[in-house]
């Protein structure tokens, strides 16, 4: 890890001083022990403040979109970040040549409070960046896991149990929209939530309104979700949001062989395409 950090700092300084990029998006130390926070480095001499350790919990992909227009930006990407970048390219939000991707294989990030590996990392099956311009560090072995484990458990419950479960989830939602803001595929110029004149989303806070927001968001992003799990990590109420996203992903793969989003810039598009031979159940 410390090797990666050293190389990262050197490379960031080189990229900035050569003028190849105008900014490097990575992480820097936060106020507390084992805390990091997103960093936007624009001067070569500041590259020393870049940090890479097992507490880099923020994904960087959405920031590359926020910083678009400055010039070419270098972005530190692990598996999750790189899939987000790919998906943004698929969605025509970003051009590949606008970013310089510093790939970093990842061994999983930890919660600074508990010291445990983050849930999003425990469920991750792409620890190595899937796209990069340069790679810092050695590739790591991808873990073998069933990322639909929790979804399958929920599916096995009866309907009333699931209803109670999701009601308790949406009862806690405060609709801060952090999940939307961190999401690399939530790239609408104007979210349905903000279209007040259209009146999609009521302003009241209750289970039904929260569920309306939650389910709509899942449906909007479910076919493109890159499973970075950042929505779940960012959620101030610790809601298990990936349980819903993964349900969509699982179903779309089962029904339409959608595969996984963000593995390349071509992308998948299960809900934007069709096949006349699709399975039929509405006859």
């Amino acid at each position: 890890m410390s090797d990666i950090q050293t190389t990262l700092r050197t490379r960031a300084a080189e990229l900035l001083s050569s003028g190849e990029v105008v900014e490097v998006i990575g992480w820097t130390a936060g106020r507390f022990d084992n805390q990091t926070t997103p960093a936007f480095i624009t001067k070569a001499e500041d590259a020393e403040s870049l940090v890479f350790n097992e507490y880099c919990v923020n994904t960087t992909s959405k920031f590359s979109l926020m910083e678009r227009g400055l010039g070419k930006v270098a972005v530190c990407v692990r598996g999750c970040d790189s899939r987000g970048i790919n998906r943004m390219i698929t969605d025509n939000q970003l051009k590949r040549e606008e970013v310089h991707l510093i790939g970093i294989p990842c061994t999983g990030m930890k919660d600074r409070k508990t010291g445990e590996e983050l849930l999003k990392c425990r469920e991750c099956s792409y620890r190595n960046p899937v796209v990069y311009d340069e790679l810092i560090g050695e590739s790591v072995t991808e873990p073998e896991l069933n990322r639909f484990d929790a979804v399958e458990k929920l599916e096995a419950m009866d309907q009333a149990e699931r209803a109670a479960f999701f009601d308790s989830v949406y009862e806690r939602c405060i609709r801060c929209y952090a999940c939307r803001e961190v999401c690399p595929v939530c790239t609408c110029k104007s979210c349905f939530v903000d279209q007040l004149a259209a009146g999609w989303q009521g302003k009241r806070s209750n289970v039904a309104e929260n569920k309306f927001y939650g389910l709509t968001r899942v449906f909007h992003v479910g076919d493109r979700c890159v499973e970075c799990g950042e929505c779940q990590r960012a959620c101030p109420m610790d809601l298990p949001l990936m349980l819903l996203n993964r349900k969509m992903i699982k179903d779309l793969d089962l029904l339409f062989e959608a595969g996984e989003a963000g593995l390349d810039a071509e992308g998948t598009n299960p809900l934007g395409t069709y096949d006349v031979n699709d399975v039929e159940e509405f006859m």
Partner: protein, 195 residues
Amino acid sequence: MSVVNDSQAVGTKDGTGEFEPTILAFACHWCTYSGADLAGLNRMNYPANVRLLRVPCSGRVNPQYVISAFNKGCDGVLVCGCHPGDCHYVSGNYFAKRRLMAFKRLLEYSGMEPGRFQVRWISGSEAGKFRDTVIQVCADIKNLGPLQDREADALASISVADLQKGAEAAGASASSESAVAQAATANGNAEKAGE
């Protein structure tokens, strides 16, 4: 001519009498809506619990409409479109099919009873299928009972009785619910369905 029997249409959710669900049916203009029209012309009887909402294509049905319908007082939602291959816009219902298959699963996964949300392909000539579908969906929803989750509609808790009162005061004038009412009229739905 009383277009919709108000007390029946609103449903009795206070536990008195038999539960009469409110069901919203999205009907594709080019097929299902004509099918419903044909059912009316043929004097076919089907429950007045269903309100038809005409859409240009089943592909126009945004899943958000469905959640909204549930939040605003519907006990069941039915989406009807042309048979695959018959879409007036060539491919609208193919997209709808994928979308609604995924959405139905998501809805049921998040706790909705299976059967509250249904999708059917009904062509313009299938008046009988339309009638049978509505009868069957209505029976399904009656079995399931009223949808409890009405919080989004803050007015729901106070409104059932008030709404009925309001509707009575308005008499047989159906202007306030023109979309639903017109749909029902066009379908010959007025035939004292509640009696």
